[in-house]
């Protein structure tokens, strides 16, 4: 069946992508490996939900078969939720099809029958527009499109897996902090922090604000002062809180990429030239060791 094929290991994201496909006036065919997701997505407004079954528990192992399926069915577009595993499958499918692929498109539309996409480059400082023709692959992050509803037929399809890679073990990540991607307020700590114990001043402010504590990549990956899940940026968490307040964050573009959808961005930094101030709504030029405790005190008193 021709149309837009949709895949995501996150079923809400899959539903959003169906919303996109239908919004383009195309047929939407959802691929899923999860029986429960198939059931839920049967009300996503898709034209068809295809429950794929095979011999491997690793969804990435079906990349080659999905590529064959898309070619065989005359798919127009394969749009995939940009999760770790979604990105992997999408690029494998594009590789087997030797076709165009746009990763993490920030915008995707059909203009004169051609697919036009936009995406960020250079850590978010540059926007690139591309035009794609023929069967191609695009990945999209959550929250870009609205899900719709409507009944869809669910069919089951046997599909072969590449079994050279097998799952040995799966360990849930015990999140020490809250999920930053849904946090309403975030206090973000940067590399200006002298030592781990000083995180307390961030926690104190977070407590008053009702905020979660996040950090930059260096704090998590170089200093190991906060878990890796807590770092914000292009390769880490992408957040969209009402209030994002950074302390001692210089504002490398890769970090700014992760905070750009915040409603209000506040920065505290000693360096008036720090790029974070260009990305901020409000800023204080000053030492966070003086500013933050005073801010905490002021907010407490209010």
């Amino acid at each position: 069946m021709a149309g837009i094929y949709v895949y995501s290991d996150k079923k809400d994201l899959a539903a959003e992508l169906v919303g996109f496909a239908k919004g383009c006036g195309k047929r939407a065919i959802v691929l899923t490996f999860d029986e429960r997701a198939a059931k839920d997505l049967s009300n996503s407004g898709a034209d068809k939900v295809c429950l794929l079954k095979g011999d491997s528990e690793l969804v990435e192992n079906y990349g080659k078969s999905i590529a064959h399926l898309l070619a065989e069915q005359g798919a127009e577009l394969f749009v995939v939720g940009a999760t770790v595993s979604g990105r992997d499958i999408a690029a494998r499918v594009a590789g087997y099809l030797d076709c165009a692929m746009v990763s993490e498109a920030s915008s995707i539309t059909y203009t004169d029958g051609k697919l036009v996409t936009e995406r960020m480059m250079y850590g978010g400082s540059v926007q690139q527009s591309e035009v794609l023709e023929g069967l191609c692959v695009v990945t999209v992050r959550a929250g870009k499109f609205e899900a719709i509803s409507g009944a869809a037929e669910v069919t089951t399809l046997e599909i072969s897996a590449d079994t050279r890679t097998t799952l040995v073990e799966r360990k849930d990540i015990v999140k020490e902090g809250a999920d930053l991607s849904v946090a309403e307020r975030i206090v973000c700590v940067g590399m200006a922090l002298d030592k781990r114990e000083d995180l307390q001043i961030a926690h104190d402010l977070a407590a008053v604000l009702g905020a979660e504590v996040g950090c930059t990549r260096g704090v998590a990956e170089e200093k190991h002062w906060l878990p890796v899940e807590q770092y914000i940026g292009m390769s880490g968490a992408v957040v969209k809180p009402k209030l994002y307040l950074s302390m001692g964050v210089s504002g490398q573009i890769q970090h700014v990429f992760g905070i750009r959808d915040s409603q209000i961005i506040v920065a505290v930094n000693t360096d008036p030239k720090a790029p974070i101030f260009k990305a901020a709504d409000y800023g204080i030029v000053g030492d966070m060791y003086q500013v933050i405790p005073l801010l905490t005190k002021t907010l407490k008193g209010a």
């Binding site: 590399m191 002298d194 000693t270 360096d271 008036p272 030239k273 030492d287």
Partner: protein
Amino acid sequence: MSSLVTSNTTLSSLTDEQQLILNNVREFVQTEVKPRAPQIDKTAQFPHDLFKRCAELGLTGLAIDEEYGGLGQGVLMEQLVMEEIAKECPVLALILDAHLLSYRLINHFGSKEQKKRFIPPTASGAQITAMASTEATGSTNFAEQQPMGKRDGDGIILNGTKLFTTNSDVAGFYIVQGMVDGEFVNVIVEKGTPGLETGAIDHKLGMAGSSTGTVRFKNLRVPKENILAEHSDVQDASFALCFLNISSISIGLAEGVLEKTKTYLLNRTRNHKPLAGFQVVAHHLAKMQTQIELAKSILERAAKLYDEGRPDVVLTFMTKAFACEMAVDVANLCIQLHGAAGYMEETGIARYLRDAKCNTIGEISTDIHYDYIALRMGLPIDTSFPLFG
């Protein structure tokens, strides 16, 4: 990092490898040294961690011959590295300078065996080294110094105190210079030798963390193997090299403080106009940039002469006198341009002035350099100059 207006004339003549080395040093300075610099200044603790990193990267052996485990890089390269480090942390560059100075003395005065024994640990940074020469009576005129010891068989018994020795409390061995039985000698004193006492001064104006202090000897016996070959003529171009290192530190320091000041003045506004756009301020910045460029030019010339094997000691003295005074002036003016903020340590500008002052005195003061230059000009100046006669 924003680049300065010129300065690329030197860099264009570097090999790919040298350019890569400088890139790596720059990255090391920006990511590892810069965040530590204010702390070192505040706590005055010797930065063992950074010295270790310098050793791992190979900076402790930069100019040391490859046969001793060094990298065999030239004098100019050493200057460029010193300059890069001093932009963010002059004291770390000073520590390396003192370390490399000891190497130069061993390399110049030492026997093959002594070089084999003492230079490899210097190159690898396994040992930090120091040079001890200044006494209470002065440093430049050894003839006026008290004897620091006397011959004892084939060895020497040392008694006395050397002052203001950089790396005093952390060195694995010391090159000690002074008079013994009316002769100028260089000896190596190893840490742990009975009769050796060291101490660092906690409070000085600047260059905090350099562990500068006293080295005391009480009936300390130096065995024959540790006495460097005797030279009555101590005028030595290789020793004068330390003046180039000090000049590079001053130049890097000036570049560092000017860059920070420029940033500040570009962002600080009056009537919605950046202060750096006011002509009087802009001219100050432009003049300082020019002064730095002048210092770099003379330094580059002096360094190249070393690399070409025809060192010019007078030019080296001129470089040191000019570059080190220049850095004090630049740091001083930069504080002024910051206003009250410049006077506050948290702004991170004030320490540059305190550090800069060290270099117009350290490793022989500017005045002595001018004495020597005057002497070479044939001026009838009343001075005896045994060190560089």
